[in-house]
């Protein structure tokens, strides 16, 4: 039972609201019913107590003294007053100063604890039925008669109980009506609340599968959070799809030329009969295919970087460790065995939030660019300056001319640029990696050469200073 309720409430917001409202109504109903009954009883008690008091006073005022004796002509009006509780039995007792009953029921006993002459009320018993009594006393100071006559008037509790139940019943009617109204209101509110959700769902359903433009955010504040999250998600999806599209078109474009060239060379090779030329063609074929392989590597690493840039978790990474790893893995040594690389790493950790494989890939590309296009000596290092952490590659050349540099910048920005050279591709990779982690690729002429640097917002090292 409980699990079913739980299941229902977990699966449907309407059920949750219904359960909440129902609980509220039940608990509220019990509380209001109890309060109404208490109030009703109190109201009935005070109303009928006044009736009793009125009747007792009426009787008390009818007592006169004649010939030294209290004489009473019981006023009918007092009993007619009491008969306003039509079904209740009436008990009364008039007690003289000596404690003897002048008239009425001897059976009515005054509570022993009270002082007999004090006015007020007490609960008692009248012929086996619970009853309520009022006490009114009248003092006489006549020449012939002195003392206090006590009038006790009581009534059984039927009318009181009936009135208490009546009040409770009416309160419960009101409660039931308001409960119904609340339930209806809750239903209306729930519908109103869920209308934007339904609208969103309908909008999403009717959407073109390739449409990843943001949804309309003019919705209630509470649902706007969801819309924003949804829009963020779609933007990321859109970006990834965009980059994938670029990647594919770039890759196709970049591979077409070298593959065509390879085929041409292969054709030449097949038609050539002169062994010397064949030799030259074969070596060209080899060089071309090596370069193609290199290009493929870069394309794949770019795909990797682009994928990870959006997907991978950010971690604290020491840029010095990246530089060291790139240096030690020694990919460059295979391609450029004669090159010499100097490392310039500080003592303090240079930490950023990023993804290690992506960063490594970017740095490798910068390094191989420097080895391929720049002039030795090539230096690689990290710096931490005014909250910016940088990892850079410096060569002694003068770098590409200004026009090419400007062209490069433009190419990174534009989505559908063709990248003819693998160096352009390498820079594109570095650029997108920098972009992924909130940094930038800075290409600048430095003292003694050309410097390509990835700079990121630095993360302050933890107090423990875990350097390595």
């Amino acid at each position: 039972m409980a699990s079913r309720v739980h299941g229902a409430s977990a699966s449907s917001l309407t059920a949750r609201v219904a359960l909440g409202v129902a609980l509220l109504l039940v608990i509220g109903g019990v509380i209001v019913a109890a309060a109404a009954f208490a109030y009703g009883r109190e109201g009935a008690r005070s109303a009928y107590d006044r009736l009793l008091l009125g009747a007792a006073s009426d009787i008390a005022s009818a007592i006169t003294v004649q010939d030294g004796k209290p004489v009473l002509d019981l006023p009918v009006s007092a009993f007619e007053l009491l008969a306003l509780a039509p079904d209740d039995r009436i008990g009364y007792r008039i007690i003289g100063p000596d404690g003897a009953t002048l008239t009425g029921y001897d059976e009515i006993a005054l509570p022993s604890g009270r002082r007999g002459t004090r006015n007020g009320f007490f609960d008692g018993d009248f012929f086996g039925e619970p009853a309520r009594f009022a006490v009114v006393s009248k003092r006489f100071a006549e020449r012939t008669f002195t003392g206090t006559v006590v009038v006790v008037v009581g009534q059984t509790l039927r009318a009181r109980t009936e009135m208490a139940y009546d009040i409770t019943r009416k309160a419960l009617y009101v409660l039931a009506a308001s409960g119904l109204a609340m339930a209806l209101l809750a239903a209306v509110v729930v519908r109103a609340v869920f209308r934007p959700l339904n609208a969103i769902a309908a909008g999403l359903t009717s959407r073109d599968p390739h449409d990843l433009t943001p949804l309309d955010t003019s919705v209630p504040r509470e649902t706007a959070v969801m819309i924003q999250a949804l829009n963020g998600f779609m933007a990321r999806l859109d970006r990834q799809m965009g980059t994938m599209r670029h990647l594919i078109s770039d890759t196709a474009h970049q591979l077409r030329t070298p593959v065509a060239a390879l085929r041409a060379q292969a054709d030449l090779f097949a038609e050539e009969t002169d062994p010397g030329r064949r030799e030259r063609i074969a070596s060209r074929l080899q060089a071309r295919s090596t370069s193609l392989g290199h290009l493929l590597d870069q394309l794949l690493s770019q795909a990797l970087v682009i994928h990870r840039g959006d997907a991978a978790r950010r971690e604290r990474i020491d840029l010095r460790a990246i530089a060291l790893d790139v240096f030690e893995e020694g990919d460059h040594a295979v391609l450029y065995p004669q090159a010499e690389i100097a490392l310039d790493l500080g003592n303090r950790p240079v930490e950023i939030l990023g993804d290690e494989p992506s960063l490594k890939e970017a740095v490798k590309n910068l390094l191989s660019n420097a080895l391929k296009h720049g002039r030795p000596p090539v230096r690689m290092g990290t710096t931490l300056d005014a909250g910016r952490a940088s990892i850079w590659v410096l060569d002694a050349g003068c770098g590409p001319d200004a026009e090419t540099l400007a062209g490069l910048g433009k190419r990174f920005a534009g989505p559908s640029q063709s990248r003819q050279s693998s160096s352009g591709l390498g820079l594109a990779i570095a650029h997108s990696v920098a972009g992924s982690f909130g940094g930038e690729l800075v290409l600048s002429a430095a003292e003694g050469g050309f410097r390509a640097a990835l700079t990121f917002p630095a993360v302050l090292p933890t107090p423990a200073g875990d350097a390595e």
């Binding site: 009473l72 009993f79 039995r89 009436i90 008239t103 012929f127 039925e129």
Partner: protein, 353 residues
């Protein structure tokens, strides 16, 4: 009515401890072999009530009725003693002293009962679902047709006052009413009169001045009027007056047109009754159509009060009817002190009695 007595055993010793009081008449109705007995104690003359009981018994072959006729004060005393002693006495108590019945109910002597028939009763004719008014009988002025000239017939209490006013009034000493010390019903009528209008004070004074007579019971009063001992009887129960009137031309009857008290005999089922089921059956019968017809035939539901059937021509406007409702305010009538005060005044009126 007294002739009824000759038919039946009289003055049977009581099985109750209250030996000082005795019922007037006892009668057994229904088959002797019946295994159930319903004990009815009532102030109603058995001659009047017999047809009603007989009709009730017709459909119930296994039931017989033990009917005891009592004076209202004795019946009250006995029922109260039974109640205090938690002793089974009567199964049904019917009394014209409704104030005494109200007191019995007030002292938790009655059993509650609700049925479709009792629900139909107007609120003034029941109290706490323990006491029900079963009859409707006016308090009337009875006069001797032969001795009272038409011009003197009192239509209202004021007429009666006027008759008694002259010092040499022919009616001095010839007007009778109940002795309220002996008759619970007489006391109730007098008390209700005192509540109803100040006229009664003047009337009482006139009674005292002219030496009016007070006697114990309806039958005496009516017989006295018929025989010419009294010229006028005041506050006589209409049902008896009417039944005598049917056989005796000498008796005339007036419903006072200033106001007419209407009594409903009250029925209760004592809490300790042995045959409570039979008692409530009897009650339902009395309140049913057949029972009401039987009561009307017995004149216990007075035809003169029925405007629909009003063949008598003596019918009165409903606005002058003053039903004596079953209400706790009747308790005042039985208050010891109040009663003493009232009685003192009464004794001053009728010093000779």
């Amino acid at each position: 009515m007294r002739r009824v007595r000759s038919l039946i055993l009289c003055g049977m010793a009581l099985f109750a401890a209250t030996g000082a009081i005795a019922q007037e008449v006892v009668e057994r109705l229904g088959p002797e072999t019946a295994d159930q007995t319903l004990v009815i104690r009532s102030t109603t003359d058995i001659a009047v009530f017999r047809p009603v009981v007989a009709l009730f018994l017709e459909a119930r072959p296994d039931l017989r009725v033990h009917y005891e006729q009592w004076g209202s004060n004795d019946l009250h005393r006995l029922s109260r003693a039974d109640c205090r002693a938690r002793r089974p006495g009567a199964d049904v108590v019917i009394s014209s002293g409704v104030h005494q019945m109200v007191q019995l109910v007030n002292e938790a002597c009655a059993a509650a009962y609700v049925s479709r028939e009792t629900e139909r009763l107007p609120a003034a004719l029941k109290w706490r679902d323990e006491l029900w008014g079963i009859t409707r009988e006016p308090a009337v002025i009875v006069y001797n047709r032969e001795l009272v000239p038409d011009a003197d017939i009192p239509r209202t209490r004021f007429d009666l006052l006027d008759l008694l006013r002259p010092a040499d009034s022919a009616y001095a000493g010839r007007v009778a009413t109940y002795d309220i010390e002996q008759s619970g019903l007489g006391y109730l009528f007098a008390f209700s009169d005192a509540r109803e209008a100040t006229t009664f004070g003047a009337l009482q004074e006139s009674f005292g001045r002219t030496g009016a007579v007070s006697t114990c019971c309806s039958a005496d009063l009516i017989k006295g009027v018929a025989e010419g001992r009294y010229l006028i009887a005041y506050n006589v129960l209409g049902s008896y007056a009417q039944s005598v009137q049917r056989q005796d031309d000498r008796v005339g009857m007036i419903l006072p047109s200033d106001y007419t008290l209407v009594l409903s005999r009250a029925l209760m089922v004592p809490r300790h009754a042995e045959n409570g089921e039979g008692a409530t059956e009897f009650l339902d019968f009395l309140l049913s159509g057949a029972g009401r017809r039987a009561l009307r035939d017995a004149l216990l539901i007075s035809p003169v009060l029925d405007r629909e059937e009003g063949g008598e021509g003596e019918g009165v406007s409903p606005t002058v009817l003053r039903p004596i409702g079953l209400s706790p305010s009747l308790l005042v009538a039985l208050d010891k002190h109040t009663r003493e005060t009232f009685m003192r005044r009464w004794r001053a009126t009728f010093p000779g009695e």
